[in-house]
């Protein structure tokens, strides 16, 4: 049994310790907002927060998060998260939308650590999240908009 907290709730899972957190979240816990895209931490679709920091859940064995706090897109509720999601909706960032859970998670982690990011900061923090529809220009604008809203 591996025990950890997901979105504030203690969960116990009976899984092979090497199982990537992603598949535990999706297949065991039914939290399907976190997406599979590459399986090798190249695309960021599987991004969750581990103790508030971005983590690629496809490449993190579930054993490695034992006893820690994991937040998925379903558990977002902070002021930063709300500002990010509101900006995403206001600017119609999404196209196919499949990568956007991961994009939102990375953007929230960025703004939690750096409330006024420059374009370069955004490049650095977000270049691990692929959007095949190339919605990058709107992601950038939405992060700035969320930052503005949070500083207002």
């Amino acid at each position: 049994m591996i025990e950890f907290k997901v979105n504030g709730e203690t969960r116990k899972v009976d899984a092979d310790p090497q199982t990537p957190l992603l598949w535990v979240l999706r297949d065991e816990l039914g939290l399907t907002g976190t997406k599979y895209g590459c399986g090798i931490a190249q695309c960021g679709a599987c991004t969750v927060h581990l103790e508030g920091r971005s983590l690629r859940s496809c490449s993190a064995p579930v054993a490695a998060v034992a006893g820690q706090n994991v937040t998925t897109i379903e558990g977002l509720g902070s002021k930063t998260a709300k500002a990010v999601q509101q900006a995403w909706i206001a600017l119609d960032v999404v196209q196919c939308g499949y990568c956007q859970s991961g994009q939102v998670m990375s953007a929230v982690a960025l703004l939690d650590q750096n409330p006024r990011p420059s374009d370069e900061d955004i490049d650095l923090a977000m270049s691990g999240n692929i959007c095949r529809c190339a919605t990058y220009q709107r992601i950038r604008a939405a992060i700035h908009a969320a930052s503005d809203a949070l500083s207002a």
Binding site: D27, C96, Q100, Y136
Partner: protein, 744 residues
């Protein structure tokens, strides 16, 4: 992705246009059993016989029949049935915008659902089948959805007129509320039952475009933004069903490889693995979850016969294709009888050979499908971009008649053409696995990224060889052009309709026909077939033809000492819209204004899918010689702009998609195997590589045309032209990662 010529479109004996004259003869049906609400259905002309097998009558459940675009529930919900497939291009919002406009519904009361497989009701009238592609969605739906919406409105008005005993002319409709004299008003829901009892009007008045409140307005936002920004959208990978199993398939490691035998002893011992079965696609490992399935697959012992694997390598294909191009004996695309004389009398020539690799679509959600065989029927949940294909193929694989097969079409995590294919490869794989396990349990076949990238169905590898004869004043006087590459349409059911005299029009679209007046052309095509299957890839033939034509026009302008914009304009006759976007992009980009040292501009313009797009790229080199695209100015003429902000989004995305292919895109085949398998070696564009994109929409009252694909073709040549100015290097082999650059 798919552009069918008029002859492949639905039979319309007296009218070549599916959207104008034909509509007037289309009756409107009122569906039976609509007592609890208003149901409007359009009766479409009979589809081509070839697709008749996919025709299925859906049985309505609850209050409403499904053969409709609009349902209005007594509780005032307005449900639009969306006949097109959402892959991010915004078609759900687009079709809803048109319906809501003519219905005068309130945007906040709109709900949408995707149409079932029913080609009679939900055909793409430009393709003659139910499916989404070729950037045809808005074009084929425009008048159909307007009439559907206007019919619904007219019936609601008639119902109110009857209830209030006032003339219909005294009634107005605004934002989902019907208003009559004396302050009387009613919601759509309050009138739905009464409206459903009325006869469907044969003729309805459409709005004057000046009265549009939704069409053309940026205030209309996407209907799917909230779900996709909060992780609550349901994609195929997210489908939950009781007892759902997950399967991964060990696919052949090379194209043409076949399975000799396999040993599943170890795989079956993996905890969670329930079945290991051989299917046409390879060996499927079925498990209670993805990780167990992957572990099981890893434990398989597989013996493949690689004797028939091929093609040997991309390098060999380039050699072979170059030799074919040099022979000059391809199928004639366009031969001017004066060509040989004109070329012989040229004062000089400009010759160039171009090479384009195989490309994978690499949509974010790897291909997948859920299949459930139960109670003598098959249900699938998937990204059914082409229900007409998928329905027929799934039924065949299951050994069922189409009426026993129900497709549930879901939102997709991208497609770029991949999910529309003649073989329904991933759908059929799911059906085959469901059949092989032999129990009535739902199973999801999930490809890994590597499975997805190595499964073929690529944009084919192409070679172009161009020779332009020039007169003494460096003006083009003769144009010889050989194209070599697999026919995308040849292996499909559409071959007969689309290949004429050995020429697949999608192999040469953009070279011929072209808006340019080419001098004494001789255009030929070789279409060798290969073991790797070809497929349309966002903008199809234009992915390579626009690059060749627009870089060649630029080179010719340079040779003639002419401005690239002026040179292009001088080679156009009666092409006001093509010229219009060219001039608009140049103007907005400040074409005449010099850039600081170390930066250069390039321009390109292309017509595809009935839409005109010009782009100006501003490019620099990084310290280590990598091209950096800083800004792209886009001018687009797609007729009436239905959702301007979504047109902007498609242009932005088109630029980014094109840049990925230009910089990095390449599936390189060695020993019959694709070398690339994931985003580490098949790189796509990332945040730090995205230029600033500025989009300008040409005001137009013309009928709307598509925007999903036409933003792609001009980007690569515009950047290449800028790089040529900056470095003096003309790039004729893609991707750019094969070239090192230095500032000239």
């Amino acid at each position: 992705m798919i552009s069918l010529p008029p002859e492949a479109r639905p039979a319309e004996p007296t009218s070549p246009s599916p959207t104008a004259a034909a509509l007037t003869r289309r009756g409107f049906l009122k569906s039976a059993g609509a007592a609890a609400g208003l149901v409007i259905a359009l009766q479409l002309p009979l589809m081509r016989k070839a697709y008749a097998g996919a025709d299925v009558g859906e049985v309505p459940t609850g209050d409403f029949a499904p053969n409709a675009f609009i349902r209005i529930a007594p509780d005032n919900r307005v449900i639009f049935v969306i006949k097109h497939f959402e892959m991010g291009q915004g078609v759900t919002t687009g079709l809803a915008t048109i319906l809501a406009e003519e219905l005068d519904a309130d945007w906040s009361q709109i709900e949408t659902e995707y149409a079932p497989a029913n080609v009679k009701l939900y055909a793409n009238t430009e393709l003659g089948a139910q499916g989404t592609g070729g950037s045809t969605s808005m074009a084929n739906s425009w008048m159909q959805m307007r009439r559907a919406g206007a019919t619904g409105r007219a019936m609601l008005v008639a119902a109110a007129a009857q209830r209030w005993q006032v003339p219909a002319a005294k009634i107005t409709v605004r934002s989902g509320v019907v208003h009559g004299p004396g302050g009387r008003h009613a919601t759509f829901g309050e009138l739905a039952e009464a409206a459903a009892q009325l006869p469907v009007p044969v003729d309805v008045t459409l709005k004057n475009p000046k009265d549009f409140v939704l069409v053309g307005k940026t205030s209309v936002r996407r209907l799917d933004s909230a779900a996709k920004s909060t992780g609550t959208e349901t994609y195929t990978i997210d489908v939950k069903l009781p007892g759902l199993l997950t399967a991964v398939i060990a696919q052949p490691p090379a194209f043409g490889a076949t399975l000799r035998h396999f040993d599943a002893t170890a795989a079956k011992k993996v905890a969670g693995v329930t079945d290991v079965v051989e299917v046409a696609e390879g060996v499927a490992v079925v498990a209670t979850g993805m990780w167990a399935a992957l572990q099981g697959r890893r434990a398989l012992k597989l013996d493949w016969n690689l004797d028939a694997a091929g093609p040997a390598s991309s390098a060999a294909l380039y050699d072979h294709y170059r030799a074919l191009a040099a022979k000059g004996d391809g199928a004639p695309v366009q031969i001017d009888p004066q060509h040989k004389t004109a070329m012989a009398s040229a004062a000089s020539t400009l010759e160039a050979s171009y090479e384009f690799p195989y490309l994978a679509h690499a949509a974010m959600e790897p291909m997948n499908c859920v299949a459930w065989l139960h109670d003598g029927m098959l249900e699938t949940w998937g990204a059914h971009q082409f229900p007409t294909f998928d329905h027929a193929n799934a039924a065949k694989a299951a050994g069922l008649t189409p009426d026993k097969v129900k497709l549930h079409t879901l939102m997709s995590g991208g497609s770029f053409g991949r999910r529309a294919n003649n073989w329904s490869d991933f759908t059929v794989a799911a059906v085959n696995v469901a059949k092989a396990i032999g129990r009535p349990v739902p199973v999801r076949v999930q490809w890994t990224r590597e499975d997805d990238m190595r499964a073929g169905l690529y944009r084919p590898l192409y070679v172009h060889q161009v020779k332009v004869g020039l007169d003494a004043k460096q003006r083009p006087a003769a144009w010889q052009h050989a194209v070599v590459g697999q026919s995308i349409m040849a292996p499909t059911a559409m071959a007969a309709a689309l290949i004429k005299n050995g020429v697949d029009s999608t192999s040469v679209e953009g070279v011929w026909p072209t808006p340019y007046t080419l001098p004494a052309p001789e255009i030929t095509l070789h279409s060798p077939s290969q073991a790797v299957r070809p497929l349309w890839w966002r903008s199809v033939g234009n992915t390579h033809t626009a690059y060749v034509m627009e870089t060649m026009m630029d080179e010719l302008a340079e040779r003639a000492g002419a401005d690239p914009v002026a040179f292009r304009l001088a080679h156009l006759q009666d092409q006001p819209r093509f010229a219009g976007v060219l001039k608009l992009a140049a103007e907005k980009a400040g074409w005449e204004t010099p850039l600081p040292k170390g930066k250069a501009r390039g321009i390109a313009v292309h017509y595809s899918f009935e839409t005109y797009v010009a782009q100006v790229a501003e490019v620099s080199l990084t310290a280590d010689g990598q091209p950096k695209v800083e800004r792209v100015v886009v001018a687009v003429d797609c007729g009436t702009a239905i959702n301007p902000d979504q047109i902007v989004a498609q242009m932005e995305g088109g630029v980014g998609f094109a840049l990925a292919a230009l910089f990095y895109g390449e599936i390189d085949i060695e020993n019959g195997r694709p070398r690339q398998g994931n985003y580490n070696d098949y790189r796509v564009l990332r945040m730090n590589e995205m230029p600033r994109v500025e989009v300008h929409i040409m005001p137009s009252g013309e009928a709307p045309t598509g925007v999903g694909e036409p933003g792609v073709p001009p980007t690569a040549p515009a950047v290449a032209n800028a790089l040529a100015r900056l470095t003096g290097q003309r790039i004729r082999r893609l991707p750019l990662s094969r070239t090192s650059f230095k500032t000239a």
